[in-house]
Amino acid sequence: MAKGTLLLTLLLLSFPALAQRVKAELACAFTGTDFVYDCAINLKRGANPLSGAQITLSADMPSMPMMHNVAPVKAKPGRNPGEYEARLDLEMTGEWAVKLRLAGPVRDVLVLNYVFDESGTRPVLRRSRTAPRK
């Protein structure tokens, strides 16, 4: 009974942390070789950096879904907590949806839309056709 109560209390206490989704940011630098980018990934859960995750990166072009098969790569841990590094070999410049498959302390899939060109990457900003309903 006491064990059950303790377990329930721990679960309730940890619930806000479980509910917090992992957020990711990507910054890539053009290597000088056609369509090859060195990327730094920052993972955060809430305000805290998330270390120890195993990340597999792949990419697809939103305007040509399923037509480009970029070889998935595994990210290595970076210098700082929550930081990871990977090299992406894309097929062309333009907008790519980079998929991060997370394993380890958290299992999730995150998709980040970035524009890749010779200056590096920038997040895709799209104009909405209408204002979203509140």
Binding site: D34, P62, S63, K99, V111, R126, R129, P132
Partner: protein, 295 residues
């Protein structure tokens, strides 16, 4: 099998659904540039049903297929009166209208502190049913190909039935088919609905594979490719669209045989085939020859 091979094979499987959908209409004598719209309807409906309504994937797939069939019927009712290129243009216009509707669709609810659902041009994130049910990429590849093979068996069985003969008769000579008592218009509406449901099924599987969809996924590029796969693979058998998809995504892309020039090679291949083999690699002649040889 490594992650890359799994990714390529899953994509070949997924794109085969929309290619098969275009193939069904080609057999009925209609060239549609708009099957990507029903793929999109399936993706959005399936994603909303699992991520927002909490339905299991099989039920969501059935719901999405029903919606895909209804949407295809809605497009086919006014457009099937048109012939040839006019029908092709009308399907393209309808598909673009559908894509713009996806851009206007804002329908989100908060789940685990995160907004989930379509958010217009920003797309629809968080379609996590597959992840939440512990299905790994290898498992999902088996699921996609299992469903595709089941669909192929049904289509191949139907092709060899009286229904298949009627379908080819309607496609080859609608006036002659009508003179034999076939209600050509109703028959084509049925084929359009079935093709819509099939594309929608592919869409559901795509959305759950990707976990994220956006209106741009369902633009003209996917429509052109799916039609090209059906035409390249051949109109002699339902295996044709699969062969077309495997040739482009699997061989040209998978092996990186032509590197960045792949799209040029692909375009050239389509042009050459249209000149020398207008009904594709596995056309009726080849299929008859293979049947005679191996049966």
């Amino acid at each position: 099998m490594d992650d890359y091979a799994i990714g390529v094979l899953t994509n070949v499987g997924l794109v085969s659904f929309v290619a098969l959908s275009a193939y069904l209409l080609l057999l009925a004598g209609e060239m549609s540039f708009g099957q990507q719209a029903f793929f999109g309807v399936g993706a959005y409906a399936g994603g909303m049903l699992t991520a927002m309504a909490g339905l299991p994937l099989p039920l969501a797939a059935l719901g999405a297929m029903a919606l895909g069939a209804a949407a295809a019927l809605l497009v086919a009712l006014p457009t099937l009166r048109l012939k040839g290129l006019y029908f092709a243009m009308a399907t393209l216009a309808a598909a673009e209208m559908m894509r713009i509707l996806f851009e206007l669709l804002h329908l989100q609810r908060e789940i685990d502190g995160e907004p989930v659902g379509p958010d217009g041009t920003q797309g629809f994130r968080g379609i996590r049913w597959v992840l939440e049910h512990g299905i790994e990429p290898e498992g999902y590849l088996i699921l996609v190909w299992g469903v595709l093979l089941a669909v192929l068996v049904i289509v191949l069985f139907l092709e060899n039935s009286k229904l298949g003969a009627t379908l080819r008769a309607v496609g080859a000579d609608p006036e002659l088919a009508a003179s034999l008592g076939v209600s050509v218009e109703r028959f084509k509406l049925g084929v359009a609905a079935a093709a819509g449901a099939l594309a929608a099924l592919g869409g559901v599987l795509y959305a759950h594979h990707n976990t994220y969809i956006e209106p741009r996924n369902f633009d003209i590029m996917l429509g052109v490719h799916s039609l090209a796969y059906a035409l390249i693979g051949g109109l002699g058998t339902a295996l044709g669209p699969l062969a077309g998809a495997a040739l482009d995504v699997g061989l040209l892309e998978g092996t990186r045989l032509f590197g960045g020039a792949r799209m040029i090679v692909f375009g050239g291949l389509v042009a050459l085939l249209l000149v020398f083999r207008p009904r594709g690699l596995l056309d009726e002649k080849v299929v008859h020859w293979l049947r005679a040889r191996f049966s």
